[in-house]
């Protein structure tokens, strides 16, 4: 009739451990409470980076370990959240620790977190075993993963995405790709590369002008405009390159394509009737579905909001080019940029619950990147006093912005934190325009 509680050895040990911990905590707490104390309230804390140690993996293939160390360090630093500590300060015996950690040794060098990994070759594959430790939590890893694949770069990006997800609850953008345009002999080519500048390659192989690339939402295709048939027509090419497919060939402009979030439609500028206006066409066959603008001004650069309900665009209907927003059906067109007399190339932040645009603005003869929260009107200047900075594009998680810059440190594609903080890093050297950051890589 009665159930007698059974305590097996494991449960008993756990219960005793819990009791001991409770008593220990209670004693420590009481020790302070039984003495008099004064409390001083501090205000306005500084915000800083999370100090993390990434020692080179022991028990690893030396070349792979060095490459992994470099990629992890870059990924974490460019995320805008981490301060990767200088390995020269490390006190731990890495050989003895292996994939584990001796927390006091890492506390002493100021690390809050430690990443340990072992990377080896197995057959034709690369195997990565990785651990994440929070020093304050002791010797047990808080995250542990194993990967197997062909490229250490891909595996390390996947691991770093997991680390960012662990700390922030948001997916990382490591392994995503950026499309852009560079000059070539006699024309311009659409290029693609990893977000960190690795593996840049051309998606177009003709001697004409190929401009304004835009990644499809699933990252499998890129839409762009090309003059290869003597008219700026719209084409779609696979993410790996290949023969492009022409989807819009109306007389005049077929430019500035923006995929709808579901990938079924494309918003673009057509000037088939003389004045550039914004239309929506089918991504499958290029059929016009709806005309969205109709006025004397020039309407260009449409870009779909992440929820598909709105479209931002550029119009000079009030004089100089300014940023406007309208509903996806073309209704409720209103100007949102109020700063300066020249604002172009809007892009929406993909952050959920936010309505933030980034765009290029001209200020005192220079072009810079700003963000604008449409709800609050708050503006953040991402670049300032560093040459010309144009054509922003958000990272897949909205935490970073890539843009083209012609600053004295060198022209190229730079990545900055969206809030303007931290160091801006060049990921591509050389002249580049029409920056478009693709979606997050599939896990």
């Amino acid at each position: 009739m009665f159930q007698v509680p059974v305590l097996n050895r494991r449960r008993l040990a756990a219960a005793l451990a819990a009791l001991t911990a409770t008593l220990a905590l209670g004693h420590a707490s009481a020790r302070a409470q039984q003495q008099r104390a004064v409390v001083i309230e501090l205000e306005n804390p500084k915000r800083g980076l999370y100090p993390i140690a990434v020692p080179r993996g022991s028990e690893s293939d030396p070349a792979l370990a060095a490459e992994a160390e470099s990629i992890i360090g870059f990924d974490l630093e460019v995320s805008g959240w981490f301060d990767v500590l200088d390995p020269r300060s490390f006190l731990a015996d890495l050989g003895a620790e292996g994939l584990g950690v001796d927390p006091p040794k890492w506390k002493d060098v100021g690390a809050f977190g430690v990443i340990k990994y072992r990377v080896t070759r197995a057959g034709g594959d690369v195997v990565l075993d990785a651990r994440l430790y929070e020093v304050e939590k002791g010797k047990a890893a808080v995250l542990s993963r194993s990967y197997r694949g062909k490229e250490v770069r891909t595996l390390v990006h996947a691991w770093c995405n997991e680390v960012v997800q662990y700390y922030t609850g948001e997916p990382g953008f490591f392994g995503s790709k950026i499309a852009f345009v560079t000059r070539s002999s006699g024309g311009k080519q659409v290029m693609a590369m990893d977000f960190d500048g690795h593996g840049a390659h051309s998606l177009t192989r003709n001697s004409s002008l190929n401009i304004l690339p835009d990644w499809s939402p699933d990252g499998s295709k890129v839409a762009f405009t090309s003059y290869m048939r003597n008219n700026p027509d719209l084409y779609i090419v696979g993410a790996g390159g290949g023969r492009p497919r022409r989807v819009s060939k109306h007389p005049g402009m077929n430019t500035g394509a923006s995929w709808s979030p579901d990938g079924s439609k494309i918003a673009l500028t057509l000037s088939k009737d003389g004045n550039p206006e914004i239309y929506v066409i089918s991504a499958a066959d290029g059929q016009i579905l709806r005309r969205l603008t109709d006025n004397r001004g020039i309407d260009t650069s449409p870009v779909w909001s992440p929820d598909g309900r709105e479209i931002a665009f550029v119009s000079d209907r009030h004089g100089g080019p300014q940023i406007f927003v309208m509903n996806a059906d073309g209704s409720n067109q209103r100007r949102v940029s109020r700063n300066g007399d020249y604002n172009t190339t809007p892009v929406w932040s993909p952050r959920k619950g936010k309505r933030i645009l980034a765009y290029t603005t001209r200020d005192q003869g220079h072009y810079d990147i700003v963000t604008l929260d449409i709800e609050t009107g708050e503006m953040v200047r991402v670049t300032q006093g560093q040459g010309n900075n144009e054509e922003p594009s958000f990272s897949p998680n909205g935490r970073a912005i890539a843009f083209a810059s012609t600053r004295k440190e060198g022209a190229g594609i730079y990545i900055a934190n969206t809030d303007g903080s931290g160091k801006q890093r060049r990921v591509y050297k050389g002249s580049a325009t029409s920056i478009d950051w693709g979606p997050a890589p599939r896990p």
Binding site: L25, A28, S29, A30, A32, Q33, Q34, Q35, R36, A37, V38, V39, I40, E41, L42, E43, N44, P45, K46, R47, G48, L49, Y50, G80, W81, F82, K107, G110, F112, E134, V135, E136, K137, Y167, T168, G169, S421
Partner: protein
């Protein structure tokens, strides 16, 4: 009317009952007999450390100086009537009980003044004399003299150091505060630290420990002796409320 009166009586009884139950409950609380908890501690703001207005936690105040006795009206004023006969002076009467009390009070007053002067001279010769004059004691002790005590410079500097070392990692999305405490030695070095209580957030706990360690290291490298009038601070925890 009877119903209204009855409900009034019931409401009064309920309120009294609630008050009695609360008093019993709080007085029997296990922590009531222990030392001060965070909520009961003297709280001073930021680096400027305003004195708490909580009268329960006020430090002992200097007794007000007695007012000197007001001049008593004379009982035999000088007359301007030349023809008036002089009043005979009565011989002094033996001292009454009231006069004895006054003499005793005066002696106490004189001794208190002497003690104050001695104490004042001691402070002026001590290390914290200038600071004391500049701002008053941080904790509202007898050395404070400003109406709104702005805090002792020594404690302001300590708080400023702690604030300088407090940095919250950007990736921390939560909000709240953690409490980290230090014990000062007489030479100004930090002899002990602790987190009170841990937040169970490893990032914040690590950040607080880092701040306390950096504060300890800074005080170790450049110790600043505690001024005499703050020696009491060396016998108690000085806790910082770190916001995040």
């Amino acid at each position: 009317m009877d119903g209204l009166r009855l409900s009034g009586i019931l409401m009064t009884a309920l309120v009294h009952g609630a008050v009695v139950v609360s008093m019993v409950a709080f007085s029997s609380c296990p922590g009531a007999a222990e030392g001060p908890k965070i909520g009961q501690m003297v709280t001073i703001e930021a680096a400027l450390a305003y004195k708490s207005k909580d009268s329960k936690s006020r430090q002992p105040q200097k007794p007000r100086r007695s007012q000197p006795p007001a001049p008593q009206p004379t009982t035999n004023p000088v007359s301007r009537d030349e023809e008036q006969a002089p009043v005979e002076q009565k011989p002094p009467e033996p001292p009454t009980q009231r006069d004895e009390d006054f003499a005793e009070q005066f002696e106490k007053y004189r001794q208190m003044r002497q003690e104050e002067e001695d104490e004042s001279a001691e402070v002026e010769n001590g290390a914290g004399a200038d600071e004391e004059r500049a701002g008053g004691a941080f904790d509202g002790s007898e050395h404070g003299f400003a109406e709104v005590n702005k805090g002792d410079p020594y404690m302001r500097e300590l708080a400023g150091q702690a604030h300088g070392f407090w940095s919250v990692p950007t990736l921390e999305q939560g909000s709240g505060h953690a409490v980290g405490c230090v014990q000062l030695g007489k030479d100004g070095r930090i002899i002990d630290t602790q987190l009170l209580p841990p937040t169970q957030n490893a990032t914040i706990d690590a950040a607080v420990k880092r701040a306390l360690k950096q504060l300890t290291d800074a005080r170790e490298a450049e110790p600043k002796p505690v001024p005499p009038h703050l020696m009491e601070a060396t016998t108690q925890w000085i806790c910082f409320k770190f916001p995040y």
